[in-house]
């Protein structure tokens, strides 16, 4: 039996920073020190603290090493494993107190987290089904198919209050119940692993860190709705998740946890992977189904819903990865336990991908009802470089930008919508005073224009037209009528688009128009971008007191906008200046002021 274990993060992020090599080196060092009997290296899923990856966690003393490089492996083994001395320089340093924190449980990043969907990520080896079984894996499935009727099981999911984690927050139990009521010779359980929000990667992390939980949950769902076939629609850009999920499926088949007559019952269930080409719109369930059928990935009008007319026109239940990851726990700990977490209408936890101008970038799981302030300042460690918080964008390109005044809102599905944003799949991008909100809205719209399938008019043409208006505004050519036109377009697109993508695409614009109207006005009326992000609006002037009259700026200005005598302060003619910024980069005396 091993006395110690070294858990090395094998998520995509840490692997990109050579975590696989770290595993090799750790094993080499253990061998060299004759410790292979005492300590074991385990590759796990993501720990979530991606800001400080690669992570190596030493068990049982819970030592959390951050930003480990392959050459640190020998020191960890020689010092910590052999001699029991922690390697202080690799420990997390509290940014406020500058103190080393050894135990991850004492780190601000983890203190407020509650891990249900991510319970096994960073704990078990995802390529070894035994570790999952040891952590009560497949017990929920066994319990459901041996002791419960589908109706009873669906009831438990309903009681738990679990809502879909993919975005809209539809009650999961209800969805299962609806699908279960349609009779058909064949039904399907589909796992939506077509994660596409910029910056969001919780689904990938779950699949990479705990693939068996998805298999177990899909089998439970199959039992509940009467489906014997499961399909995971996963984007081809997730090779590691695909690999681990396939390994898990193979291992589950070998154990007979997938296949005919599972655990001696009459329930049979098997599953397959379907690869997506990475179209954002394929996250919409009807588009996803069309794509799985080999058709163009575009949504269709609902009703009929997939519960009635889904994959190959058969009743189909589509749930997102994170939703499934919660399911086994509901059965293991009971729906009452699950529903005791969270707010009145949103139960359980939510995983967020924390990104942007924040100290602790990473993946976090928090109980519903936590405030944005707790997430940003306690878990996220506050704004980078001590800058001032400006906004937080939730829900990806379909969400909205929330401000200071929303920081103390207890977040759940409904409160976010009420505040003009949405939960979405859990992207959370923090912006500081240097961010221009018009540019941010433009950024999201660019994404939507790229990703629109082009089926319905408002999304195909309308979003393009909104983008053109924003581009015009950022160029300093906007007028007040443009803002009215923009607002009307945004409302009409929201009101008339065919699917969720178009219906939510104006959210970043509407929320910034609502919360940062003064910035739009500044762009349009004063022709100024105070965050200095819109290059065309930047005003370059020369500070006479600093200017030495070296003439470098004047000689480099491509439009001869700069005049001035040698050794005399120079001057920029604003009518000629094209805002290229060459003078600013060329000036050796910091005499150019950008406003």
């Amino acid at each position: 039996m091993y006395k110690m274990q070294l858990l090395v993060c094998g998520g995509t992020g840490c692997r990109a920073s050579a975590s696989a090599t770290i595993v090799e080196k750790l094993n080499e060092s253990l061998k060299a020190h004759g410790l292979t009997e005492d300590a074991q290296v385990v590759t796990t899923g993501c720990f979530g603290f991606c800001e400080k990856g690669p992570i190596v966690k030493v068990i049982p003393d819970n030592t959390f090493y951050t930003q480990v490089r392959p050459e640190d492996a020998e020191e960890i083994v020689a010092e910590h494993i052999l001699k029991g001395r922690k390697v202080a320089r690799l420990l997390y340093e509290n940014p406020e107190t500058q103190e080393h924190v050894s135990d991850s449980r004492h780190m601000g990043f983890y203190q407020k987290q509650m891990r249900i969907a991510l319970r096994n990520c960073g704990v078990i080896d995802p390529e070894n089904i035994d570790e999952y079984i040891a952590r009560e894996g497949y017990s929920a499935l066994a319990q459901v198919i041996s002791d419960l009727t589908p109706e009873q099981a669906i009831d438990m999911v309903k009681q738990s209050g679990l809502r879909g984690r993919g975005g809209a927050g539809f009650p999961t139990g209800l969805k299962w119940e609806i699908t279960s009521k349609f009779s058909s010779d064949q039904k399907y359980v589909v796992c939506n692993a077509d994660e596409g929000d910029p910056g969001a990667f919780m689904d990938r992390s779950i699949l990479e860190g705990d693939p068996n939980t998805i298999i177990e949950a899909m089998a439970i769902c199959g039992y509940c709705i009467g489906a014997s076939k499961g399909l995971v629609y996963i984007r081809a850009e997730y090779p590691l998740a695909i690999k681990r999920l396939q390994i898990a499926i193979n291992q589950a088949r070998e154990y007979g946890l997938l296949g005919d007559k599972i655990l001696g019952t009459n329930f049979s269930f098997d599953m397959e992977l379907r690869y997506g080409a990475g179209a954002f719109v394929c996250g919409e369930e009807t588009a996803l189904i069309a794509s799985m059928e080999g058709k163009r990935g575009e949504p269709r009008f609902k009703p009929p819903f997939p519960a009635e007319d889904g994959y190959l026109h058969k009743p189909t239940n589509v749930n997102n990865v994170e939703t499934f990851a919660n399911v086994p726990v509901i059965f293991l700990k009971g729906p009452e336990w699950f529903s005791s977490i969270g707010t009145e209408k949103s139960k359980g936890t939510k995983v967020f991908a924390l990104a942007g101008k924040i100290n602790n970038v990473g993946l976090i799981e928090v109980p519903m009802g936590i405030t944005l302030r707790e997430i940003i300042y306690e878990i996220g460690g506050g704004i980078k470089n001590g800058k001032k918080f400006k906004a937080v964008q939730t829900g990806g390109p379909s969400g909205g930008c929330l401000t200071e005044k929303h920081l103390d809102t207890a977040i759940d599905f409904d409160s976010l919508v009420a505040a003009g944003s949405m939960m979405g799949s859990g992207g959370m991008i923090v912006m500081d005073e240097d961010d221009c909100m018009v540019s941010i809205a433009k950024f999201y719209l660019e994404f939507i224009v790229e990703e629109s399938c082009g089926k319905c008019t408002p999304c195909r043409v309308g979003n393009k037209r909104m983008l053109e208006i924003l581009e015009k505004i950022c160029q300093g050519k906007g007028n007040m009528e443009d803002l009215d036109h923009l607002r009307n377009l945004a409302y009409v697109i929201k009101d008339t688009s065919l699917c969720g993508l178009g219906q939510t695409s104006p959210n970043p614009i509407l929320s910034t128009l609502e919360n940062f109207n003064d910035e739009y006005i500044a762009h349009v009326k004063d022709k100024r971008c105070y965050a200095k992000q819109c290059k065309a609006l930047a005003r370059y002037t020369i500070i006479p007191e600093v200017c030495t009259g070296c003439t470098v700026c004047a000689r480099n200005c491509p439009v001869e906008a700069i005049t001035g005598e040698r050794r005399q302060p120079h001057f920029i003619n604003q009518d000629i200046c094209i805002h290229c910024g060459v003078c600013y980069t060329k000036c050796k005396f910091n005499a150019i002021l950008v406003q």
Partner: protein, 129 residues
Amino acid sequence: MTKIKSLDDLRQKKQQLEQNMEIREKSDHPESLVQIKVAMATCGIASGARTVMNALVEKIKKENIAAVVTQTGCMGYCYAEPTVEVKKPGQDPVVFSYVDVKKAEEIVDKYIRNNELLDGILPANYQTI
């Protein structure tokens, strides 16, 4: 791999597999467990700390005690090695000196089980990270 054919099969399988995970499960909530630290610096190892640690691990497993055994660096009592620190939930840590296999078993039987103190307790005079 052999197939898991029933609910009981799955339970048995889980029990077999739990051992390897136990160490990770325990590290999640060490406050509720007895934490035993064996000083494993050069001085400790030279005095036989590794044997002591193995004995402790086996003993608590045999006795089914909710404890976690970890190693630690030199505690500064090089003269008294091997040394073992035991921290019971809600109590201050106690450091035992000159621990050998026999004494290790005594620590478990007497101190951990019955809260009886033994000879050779050292004053705790350090903080750990």
